[in-house]
Structures are given as structure tokens and as C-alpha cells.
């Protein structure tokens, strides 16, 4: 009777898992991953500065008018305009706009994004945008403007962002 009782109580015990090999594997993996871990995820924005060169006279086939949008970051706001060899001055005039700074003296980048989206919708072939900041504009503002210029609310807007100083 006693023997039978003992046998039954032994079968209830949970079998112990041998965790030592797993621990060993972890001890090898963790130092390796610690070495190859990156805690700052650095990303890049492609840009360029204007250079002197021969004008490319080739026109894209079909009815694809390309506009180059100019974004001037001024001290009191953002001035937008467009230029193109393929469009009339009257059409280009439609894209002249000025967005003054808001109450918190922040640039109205959301409004600019909507305006840029409008240009992209009308002229989907347009892919170049020139940012002309004033001397006092800080680098962070330029980067945020670049973000707005590249990625619109729905689609990619202007992937080619050129940064330029004011001429004159």
C-alpha cells in the first residue's frame, strides 16, 4: 500500500527542464548582438547644390509639363513660386503664394504640404524643388521643409531637393 502511494506521488512531480545549454547559447549571442547593435539610426536625405552646366534642352515626350518649385524660407514666412521652360507665365503665376508664420512663430508647413500636393496633382511629372533659405533659418527648419517637400500627404512629391543660397 505504502509503495503504491509513493509511486503515485512521484508521477505528479514536474520534470525539470535543463536550461543550462540555452543559457550558454544566450551568453554567446548577447555579447555578439551587443557589439553589432546600433542605438542611433542614422538615415540620409539626398540633396545637391546648383552647379554651372549646359542646359538640357530635351523635352519629355507627351504632354508632361515639368515644373520646378521654388520654396523661399524667409524670416517671416514661406514664399512659393514655380518655373518651367514648358509652361506659360500665366500658368506659373498661379503657383505664387506666401504663407506667413503662425502665432507660435512656426512655419506653416502643413499648409505648404497641401499646396505642393496641388502642384503635384496638376503636374505629376514635376520632381524638382529648390529650397532657398534666408541666412537666419536654422538647419532643423530646412530638414523639416525637405521632409514636407519629399513626402506629401498621399504620394511622393518632389524627390529631387536642391538647396541653394540667395543670389544677390
Amino acid at each position: 500500500m505504502l509503495g503504491a502511494k509513493r509511486g503515485r506521488s512521484r508521477s505528479v512531480d514536474d520534470p525539470d527542464l535543463d536550461l543550462v545549454p540555452i543559457m550558454n547559447m544566450f551568453l554567446v549571442l548577447i555579447p555578439f548582438l551587443l557589439i553589432s547593435a546600433s542605438f542611433f539610426h542614422l538615415k540620409a536625405i539626398n540633396t545637391s547644390v546648383p552647379v554651372l552646366g549646359n542646359a538640357d534642352g530635351s523635352v519629355a515626350p507627351g504632354n508632361t509639363v515639368k515644373l520646378t518649385v521654388i520654396v523661399q524660407l524667409e524670416e517671416r514666412g514661406i514664399r512659393l513660386s514655380a518655373m518651367s521652360d514648358e509652361a506659360d507665365a500665366s500658368i506659373l503665376g498661379d503657383f505664387d503664394a506666401y504663407f506667413p508664420k503662425g502665432r507660435a512663430s512656426a512655419y506653416p508647413l502643413d499648409e505648404v504640404a497641401t499646396f505642393l500636393q496641388g502642384i503635384k496633382d496638376r503636374y505629376p511629372s514635376s520632381d524638382t524643388l529648390i529650397i532657398i533659405p534666408d541666412g537666419g533659418v536654422i538647419y532643423d527648419t530646412i530638414i523639416r521643409t525637405m521632409d514636407v517637400a519629399r513626402t506629401g500627404t498621399r504620394t511622393e512629391l518632389f524627390p529631387n531637393v536642391v538647396i541653394s543660397g540667395k543670389v544677390g
Binding site: 547644390v49 525637405m146 521632409d147
Partner: protein, 163 residues
């Protein structure tokens, strides 16, 4: 009574077991965290601790090219300090005559080396990885960018932190 005593005597010494379960939990969490932040291409950069990078929605990876680092008070080309920055202006960089600056000379030398590397097929193209403090004004940055453009580096990758 007699039976109890004999049972106690026959019990073998069982060595105490280590409780590894909680340690395993900790290691598992650590492992998952490290797996997320794992990067197959670790590039070590010597960047001034005072530098604050801007955050961006950019998703593109940078290329490990010639590095131009602009901190609040110094300008670095790779790991070498090229100039000091005082009151928002690069010392020794005259906006009217950029070609006389140390930065221009150093960048021109880099351009020649990089040009050969591109010709040999050991490098892709001449793009500068531009890492700059977010608090600096465009007035400071413009002269540096212009100098790089004149030295033959019109294309840049602006280094930003992932948002």
C-alpha cells in the same frame, strides 16, 4: 514512529537547484531588444558629443562616404578637425574667397582621391555625408556647402536621425 524515522534516514541528499527561470526571462527580453537594434553594417563615427542631429521621416540608408561634420564650435572632415566655428562663422573661411580656405584644399585633395576610386570602380560616386547640428543657421552651413560644391562635391547626403 519507527517507520517515519527509517524513512528520514533513507532520504538522499539532493543538491539545491539554481532557479534559472527568471534569468531566462531577462535574457529573452534582452535578446529580443538586441535583435531589433541589430545592424549588419556598424559604422563607427567620431562625432562631437555636443552635436544635436535633426529628426526626419527619411528612410534611406546613408553611404559611408567622405564625412563632413559641423558641430556648434568646430568643423570636421572625417576624423580631422578642419576649422573652428565662432559666432556662427567658420574661422578662415572667407565667403568672398572660398578657394583659399583649408577646407577647400582638403576637399580638393579628397576629390582627386575619390575620382581615382570611382574610375577604378572601388567607389560608387562622390557624395558627401553631411552631419550638422540642428541649431546652426543656414548662414553658417551655406559657406561650407558652397565650398564643397566648388571642390567638386555638389551632391550631399544630409545625415538625420530616424523619427
Amino acid at each position: 514512529m519507527a517507520l517515519g524515522r527509517s524513512r528520514r534516514r533513507t532520504q538522499k541528499f539532493v543538491p539545491p537547484k539554481l532557479q534559472l527561470t527568471s534569468m531566462m526571462d531577462m535574457f529573452t527580453i534582452l535578446l529580443i531588444f538586441l535583435l531589433i537594434s541589430f545592424s549588419s553594417e556598424v559604422v563607427r563615427m567620431k562625432i562631437d558629443g555636443n552635436i544635436q542631429l535633426p529628426k526626419s521621416t527619411a528612410k534611406q540608408d546613408y553611404r559611408n562616404n567622405i564625412r563632413l561634420v559641423v558641430a556648434q564650435d568646430s568643423l570636421w572632415l572625417g576624423d580631422e578637425a578642419v576649422a573652428k566655428i565662432k559666432d556662427g562663422a567658420v574661422v578662415g573661411l572667407d565667403p568672398a574667397n572660398l578657394q583659399r580656405s583649408v577646407l577647400y584644399r582638403k576637399l580638393s585633395a579628397c576629390r582627386q582621391k575619390a575620382g581615382k576610386a570611382v574610375e577604378n570602380g572601388t567607389a560608387e560616386d562622390n557624395v558627401i555625408l553631411f552631419i550638422c547640428d540642428k541649431r546652426l543657421s543656414f548662414k553658417t552651413i551655406n559657406s561650407i556647402i558652397k565650398t564643397a560644391g566648388m571642390a567638386g562635391f555638389p551632391n550631399f547626403q544630409f545625415g538625420v536621425l530616424e523619427q
